[in-house]
């Protein structure tokens, strides 16, 4: 196995990976930017190294610096997490060239799947169904109109280099194509440094169904069933569940086989996710392959009983897949809610500031993957995900009930979070009945307002604020101060770069 793993990420996913490595007794190195000196992942790792200033380009995206730090600290493997460099094939290649194991798939498969146009062509050649649309990006509105006429409105404009909803626009008529194209190109340019945009048919009332796949370096493949991620705001997932109410055993088998076909087609060699759109008539179309561990991987872990991150590490080290398709079963139901620092009432604007108080819900089958703690600063520089709340239940209704209670008992004070909004979605009759399409949020949640607070509760809140202040005045030392004593204050700053 590895001598030391560098985790080239931050936040909850860095903590998740550090946890897996520590359970495998592999030493770890965290890397951080100047904004993350006191971040949880830095505290959790065995060692930590500063990458550079807060902007991601100068820290978490700085390939030269990360390689340099890996060598200085004797790391022979790098786990990229998700986001940042996770799907950067140049980074994967650089690791290969430097003799460092990239804990992910091989560079060539990442490159091929990262180019959405090439990936699509590869799927057409392999016989995996795709959504009809343009075969190459264009910049000319007339060309887009032509293709839109051919496949029929509505159409979806997408960034060729993209993902995560950036540079995407839905267009319903020819008149709005030009504005949408300009907006998509602008956003693509700023997010990916590449303004290539293409068009495809927009499937109405679709479900986002993705399959977890795994390959190893010996040509073995397996899939770990589906996740339904239809609940998205601005094309970014916020609630995921497995199994999907829309997938029966027959369809599951068909889609699972297609997903493995996709992984095989690009010689995939680690954990990946094949995303499909499923339409009303149970037709499914290949969307894209995410060549990394997914944000929502825990729901698969809960239902299938496999630690995906440990398996990633094992497979990257050259071991054969420890899972076999015929031994895998889904058991019960799992739901994940992504807890973002954002204001659902204000167009999901990210919020920032000091997390004054933090307490996680607890209980059977409740899991919190977190990147924060009481007293930490939520910075403006990175993705506003704070944590993920994952629950398991014997069935969907049981999991739903557990999730609602857990959300109620999840206390985050100081930054605005999406918790009340998430709860409202879970309580919506259309969610309960499983009518979850990717347009769920614009269709059913546009008019959402937080519930009215009872008069007595308002009073209780006011009184508690004053009581709290009195308590702090009475006992300024014992737990009075809001600023929780961070471990950094007690142990001081550790020496970084031991041994050299």
């Amino acid at each position: 196995m590895f001598n030391k793993i560098l985790v080239a990420n931050r936040g909850e996913i860095a903590c998740r990976i550090l946890q897996a490595a520590s359970e495998m007794n592999i030493p770890t190195l965290a890397v951080y930017s100047e904004a993350d000196e006191k971040a949880l992942h830095v505290l959790k790792a065995d060692e930590a190294a500063l990458l550079g200033p807060a902007p991601a380009l100068e820290s978490y995206l700085n390939i030269d610096r990360i390689i340099e730090v890996a060598k200085e600290h004797g790391c022979d493997a790098i786990h990229p997490g998700y986001g940042f460099l996770a799907e950067n094939h140049n980074f994967a290649k650089r690791c290969e060239d430097e003799g460092i194991t990239f804990i992910g798939s091989n560079a060539e498969s990442i490159r091929a799947m990262g180019n959405k146009v090439e990936a699509r062509q590869m799927m057409v050649n392999s016989g995996v169904p795709v959504i009809p649309g343009m075969e190459a990006p264009a910049a000319d509105a007339a060309k887009f109109k032509e293709h839109a006429e051919a496949v029929g409105y509505p159409v979806l404009l997408k960034a060729a280099a993209g993902g995560g909803g950036k540079g995407m626009r839905v267009v319903h008529d020819p008149d709005s194509i030009e504005d949408a194209l300009n907006g998509a190109m602008r956003e693509a340019k700023s997010a990916f440094g590449d303004d290539s945009v293409y068009l495809e048919k927009y499937i109405e009332e679709p479900r986002h169904i993705e399959f977890q796949v795994f390959g190893d370096k010996h040509g073995n493949y397996a899939h770990l069933f589906e996740r339904e991620c239809s609940i998205q705001r601005r094309h970014q997932k916020i609630i995921e569940e497995t199994p999907s109410v829309a997938v029966d055993d027959g369809l599951r088998k068909k889609m699972g086989e297609a997903a493995v076909m996709v992984a095989r087609a690009c010689n995939y060699t680690n954990a990946g996710t094949v995303e499909f759109l499923l339409d009303k008539n149970k037709n499914f179309y290949f969307l894209e392959m995410n060549t990394r561990i997914q944000v929502e991987h825990p729901i698969t872990e809960m239902v299938v009983g496999v630690d995906l991150v440990k398996e990633q590490i094992r497979v990257a080290s050259g071991k054969k897949l420890s899972i076999r398709q015929d031994q895998l079963r889904q058991h019960g139901h799992a739901i994940e809610c992504r807890i973002y620092a954002e204001d659902a009432l204000n167009n999901f604007l990210p919020s920032s500031g000091k997390l004054l108080f933090y307490r996680e819900p607890s209980g059977p089958f409740i899991r919190v993957d977190t990147g924060v703690y009481s007293g930490v600063d939520v910075s403006v520089y990175y993705d506003p995900i704070l944590s993920k709340l994952i629950v398991w239940g014997e069935n969907r209704a049981d999991a739903l009930e557990r999730m609602k209670k857990a959300l109620d008992n999840y206390i985050l004070l100081g930054v605005t979070t999406s918790i009340p909004y998430l709860k409202a979605i879970l309580e919506h009759e259309k969610f309960i009945s499983g009518e979850t399409y990717t347009d769920f949020i614009p269709t059913y949640m546009a008019e959402w307002k937080p519930p009215q607070v009872a008069e007595d509760s308002l009073k209780a809140a006011l009184i508690s604020v004053v009581l709290n202040e009195m308590n702090q005045k009475a006992a300024p030392v014992e737990g009075g101060e809001q600023e929780m004593p961070s471990p950094w204050k007690t142990i001081g700053k550790w020496e970084i770069g031991m041994g050299g």
């Binding site: 997010a191 993705d383 209780a460 809140a461 604020v465 009581l467 709290n468």
Partner: protein
């Protein structure tokens, strides 16, 4: 102890007095019969006419800004400070029927969609700010008139600056 607190746009005078038998609470001179049951750091249990509610509280002292978690919701509560009385708050978004638009985080203005003096409808697009590589559309909270526009397309803005102000039409 007496405090002036603002909660959901309304100001309250809250008085808490420690007595021999416990506490005496008053909100706007009205007696409140809440019985605190249990204390731990940042957490209070109150018996409100027979119903027990748990409240978590934390305060950012520098800003005079508190947050109370009750019934699964977080309520922001602002202490009235001299600055606020002078109407200079940067924390509150809606003050005296005016919607003050700030950048959600340091970012770039992609587009200002309104002009000074223009009447806007509820949810009408006011401006587009790019932050976190995403374009964020900021819309009017209510029907009103654009009172001030302080920036133009392409400006870089911090969170403290007011980009524009919309005043409510009553």
């Amino acid at each position: 102890m007496d405090s002036e607190l603002i909660l959901i746009g309304k100001q309250y005078s809250v008085s808490v007095e420690k007595t021999k038998d416990g506490y005496k609470f008053k909100i706007d001179d009205e007696q409140a019969d809440f019985m605190p049951i249990d204390f731990e750091t940042n957490c209070f249990k109150l018996n409100i006419n027979g119903t027990v509610k748990t409240v978590y509280v934390a305060t950012d002292k520098k800003k005079g800004q508190s947050y109370a978690h009750i019934d699964g919701m977080v309520l922001p509560i602002q202490a009235v400070t001299e600055e606020l009385e002078e109407g200079m708050s940067s924390a509150e978004e809606i003050i005296d029927g005016k919607q003050l638009i700030h950048a959600p985080m340091p970012g770039k203005i992609v587009k200002i969609a309104v002009e000074e003096g223009q009447e806007v409808k509820e949810k009408q697009l006011l401006c587009v700010v790019e932050a976190m590589k995403m374009e964020n559309e900021i819309r009017a909270k209510f029907e009103g008139v654009v009172k001030e526009v302080n920036n133009k397309d392409g400006d870089l803005v911090g969170t403290e600056e007011t980009i524009l102000i919309v005043e409510k039409i009553e």
